[in-house]
Symmetry: C2
Subunit: 282 residues, 2 copies
């Protein structure tokens, strides 16, 4: 039995007769591959290349969803059978996941793309935080005692640097009001199993790897499984590889720069929360 993912925070959704991803109860995420869609082909090519690439260190492979090949399935838009990528469903088993989807890089276009695509991305990059911060929040949901906070797409698109700082605080708080308490900052962002440490691992790899350039790719964070002790470390995954291009022997400086900027934002939330804890104590 396939169903529409409940906790999808960004991207095309399989609702109102549209084409979008589906999930099953076994932890699989099915992403449709349209025949005439260059993106689908590029994403499939990436998964094939990455899966068989022996130069990917084991600790880096953990950042990517497991790839189980492709499968013909009835498309969610009623158009009949359509090939789907079969991937690991990252939020499977999570009762009330708090999720952040962050598109990394100060540029989402690439030289190999069409002029229309470049112009479209160029405009979006300038009018979101992509150019200014080197990343943008694409979607989020944060769960706390009063339920989910899931701001609409338009609101998310208009986020400023201060909104981003606020979201990063709320993500590790027990409240999502104007003064988030950041009570989980230390356990979720900090420590040797926290998100910051995972991001630094990824950064080290990006300073060296010259195989892939990840355009318009997102980092997905979930705090629930880590906080509940289901996983030994904070979950950080890279998703969306429809715009991965050959690195041609050059590091992905666009992703790396954006990642470093994001790391700085997370570090600041962590440092501020430590500062305020100290103030509380004295």
């Amino acid at each position: 039995m396939l169903k529409v993912p409940e906790h999808q925070v960004a991207g095309r959704q399989a609702i109102d007769g549209k084409l979008g991803p589906l999930i099953d109860n076994l932890g699989h995420f099915y992403k449709p591959l349209q025949d005439d869609d260059e993106r689908g082909t590029r994403e499939l090519t990436f998964y094939h290349s990455f899966s068989s690439n022996t130069r990917i260190p084991h600790h880096i492979r953990r950042f990517f969803p497991v790839f189980h090949g492709t499968q013909l399935l009835k498309a969610s838009d009623g158009s009949g059978l359509c090939p789907h990528l079969v991937l690991q469903d990252i939020t499977s088993d999570h009762l009330n996941p708090s999720i952040l989807d962050i598109k990394i890089g100060s540029r989402t276009w690439y030289l190999e793309a069409s002029n229309d695509y470049i112009q479209n991305c160029f405009h979006k990059d300038k009018t979101t935080t992509t150019v200014s911060l080197g990343f943008r929040i694409c979607g989020l949901q944060i769960y706390n005692e009063s339920g989910f906070w899931k701001p609409g797409r338009k609101l998310v698109r208009n986020f400023t640097a201060d909104d981003v700082r606020s979201v990063l605080r709320k993500f590790v708080s027990s409240n999502v009001g104007p003064e988030p308490d950041c009570c989980f900052a230390d356990s979720v962002y900090g420590g040797c199993d926290g998100i910051l440490e995972r991001l630094l691992e990824l950064k080290t790899w990006f300073e060296d790897q010259t195989m892939y350039h990840f355009r318009s790719c997102s980092l997905l964070f979930d705090k629930e499984s880590f906080l509940r002790g289901k996983t030994p470390f904070a979950e950080v995954k890279l998703i969306d590889f429809a715009h991965v291009v050959d690195g041609n022997g050059v590091i992905d400086h666009n992703f790396l720069g954006g990642l470093c900027s994001f790391i700085k934002f997370v570090s600041q939330v962590l440092a501020d929360s430590k500062g305020s804890t100290m103030e509380d104590k004295f």
Copy 2:
């Protein structure tokens, strides 16, 4: 007695009745500030801010030319008295300097600039190595036994990734032919006083500093004074601050990404030269 700098490899030159920088025999570099030129004002503002900024670590200050204020001087284009920035002349005392001028960053424009400026930069960034490599060579001269090799602007503008690799090899070779020997790679790029170590120092600062964003700014390398033992470490300077904007609490992810890419290029030349030395031995 003021004269036209002999070893300028990029930027506006004070020749053919044009406005450009001048030097004296005391190690000063005079850069004209035009009244109607926003760039000049921005560069002066940067030098004032940077000079008095107590948060700049001492080892980072060494990367910047010393600023001696401004002075009214006869402009090189014959237009009469014009204020000039008075800066340290980096190549003063160097008999035959080998110089590389590298504009760092995969984007030279900034949101605060005019639309025309953005479009102009956007086009240049795409058609040079700026977008693909995260930096571009703006000018160079390399001295060896047969004299200076100083390719023309048009040639430099059309450099590919392979040309960049070749230039980085020639810069540390005794020959500039098709097979550079890289005999100075280890002493100029490597070691604890070499260029690579200096670049890593700069990288560490850029991972943290959120005060300035350096758009369209260049790194200038000179190997002569270091090889001749005149300076205890390789000379790496940042120049051209006409497009520095406020960091607004965000790291300069654009400069940092490009710097990391450049570091990787230099590391590869160093690693390859070590590999070939090993091959020669066995």
